[in-house]
């Protein structure tokens, strides 16, 4: 199965170049990276362009999504419940991220149904689980457990991202399975989430007339 890290931030956002991240990701068991800077094929690892979209309102987001280059994965920063529902209904959005930073009720059963219908994945960010301690990490674990409950009921997809700014932030597949197990995810579910990016990249688009 092809495993992908759904978001990394190479140089100049981070301290590691895309090629070096790809080299380390290969050692960690990944064969696809979604990168916010740079794309290409390095050391047998496919680095796909990812576009991070942050908007104050759904209209801003829709405008930015329309401008995203073709073939790029569009990752939208989530917000409150109304914002999330509007974003999930916007065509062209691939991933909703930042749910651990959003308010507690920001992703409810309505959003879960829309995400499942529109095939939008929800990102599980490993960075707070790794780097944060105490109450902050407990809140993130609780939020992810809530999302997991909705995912099991409504069947939308998860994708797992390290959000690595450095090679030191990457984690291998075994460690990813263990970290996701902290909030109750089974190994098969984690492996399915790691393979979600491939499905998002092969998404069937509207029929285009080629002249």
């Amino acid at each position: 199965m092809a495993y992908a890290d759904a978001c990394v931030h190479p140089y100049p956002s981070g301290d590691t170049t895309a090629a070096r991240l790809a080299l380390e990701a290969r050692a960690c068991g990944f064969d696809t990276l979604v990168s916010t800077a740079g794309a290409g094929e390095f050391f047998g690892v496919t680095v796909v362009k990812g576009v991070l979209v942050r908007g104050r309102n759904p209209r801003d987001v829709a405008r930015s999504v329309r401008r995203a280059p073709e073939g790029a994965l569009v990752l939208v920063e989530g917000g409150d419940d109304g914002f999330n529902r509007a974003v999930l209904s916007t065509g062209g959005v691939d991933v909703l991220r930042g749910m651990h930073r959003a308010p507690r009720r920001a992703f409810d059963f309505v959003a879960a149904k829309i995400a499942a219908e529109r095939a939008v994945a929800v990102e599980i960010d490993l960075a707070p689980l790794v780097a944060w301690r105490g109450r902050e990490r407990q809140k993130v674990l609780g939020r992810y457990a809530d999302l997991l409950g909705l995912q099991r009921k409504y069947g939308f997809s998860f994708c797992v991202a390290s959000n690595a700014h450095s090679v030191l932030d990457l984690r291998n597949v075994r460690e990813t399975v263990g970290l996701c197990g902290l909030f109750g995810m089974e190994e098969a579910e984690v492996r399915a989430a790691l393979a979600t990016v491939d499905a998002l990249l092969d998404r069937e688009g509207p029929v285009r007339v080629v002249t």
């Binding site: 170049t17 090629a19 070096r20 090679v167 030191l168 263990g178 197990g181």
Partner: protein, 160 residues
């Protein structure tokens, strides 16, 4: 005190972990404190007492971390949450798990030992750089915030 008979001893498991970046010198005690803090932060005091983490061996870029049998997966997760040792940014990658230290030490034969910096030239300035593996180059840079590392591959040294 006499050692317990083998049948009464608690079974242990040993994890071989690789310390990244490999040229960073990490003391065994500092590593023990970092792993212990990570286990306690993640599983609490009760969990830490059940896991019984300890660093039993450390050499160059590798270390062997001990735990009680059955708790090795928890220790792998805890090691994944270690981000710094003694104030220096590092990452611990679990390489293997075994029931004996000897089995893990056999894997250490590939340990490249101590890394010495070489000078890399970037424009006018010469900066220390560490080269390891086939393509990896870590460049140390001084800036107003202090020392920072840039992780490159050998083909990109000219581009930065």
């Amino acid at each position: 005190m006499r050692a317990r008979p083998k049948a009464l001893r608690a079974k242990r498991r040993y994890l071989l972990v690789r310390i990244l970046p490999p040229w960073r010198e990490v003391g065994q005690k500092a590593l023990y404190l970092a792993v212990n803090e990570a286990v306690t932060a993640l599983f609490g005091d009760v969990g830490a007492a059940e896991i019984e983490p300890a660093v039993v061996y450390s050499s160059g870029e590798y270390a062997v971390v001990r735990c009680r049998r059955g708790a090795e997966d928890d220790l792998v997760v805890a090691c994944a949450t270690v981000t710094a040792v003694d104030g220096e940014r590092v990452s611990l990658r679990t390489v293997a798990t075994s029931g004996t230290i000897a089995a893990l030490k056999r894997r250490l034969e590939r340990d490249e030992g101590r890394y010495e910096p070489e000078e890399a030239r970037y424009g006018e300035n010469g900066v220390p750089a560490f080269r390891y593996g086939r393509h990896k180059v870590d460049v140390l840079q001084e800036n107003i915030k202090g020392e920072s590392i840039v992780f490159l591959t050998d083909s990109e040294r000219e581009e930065i």
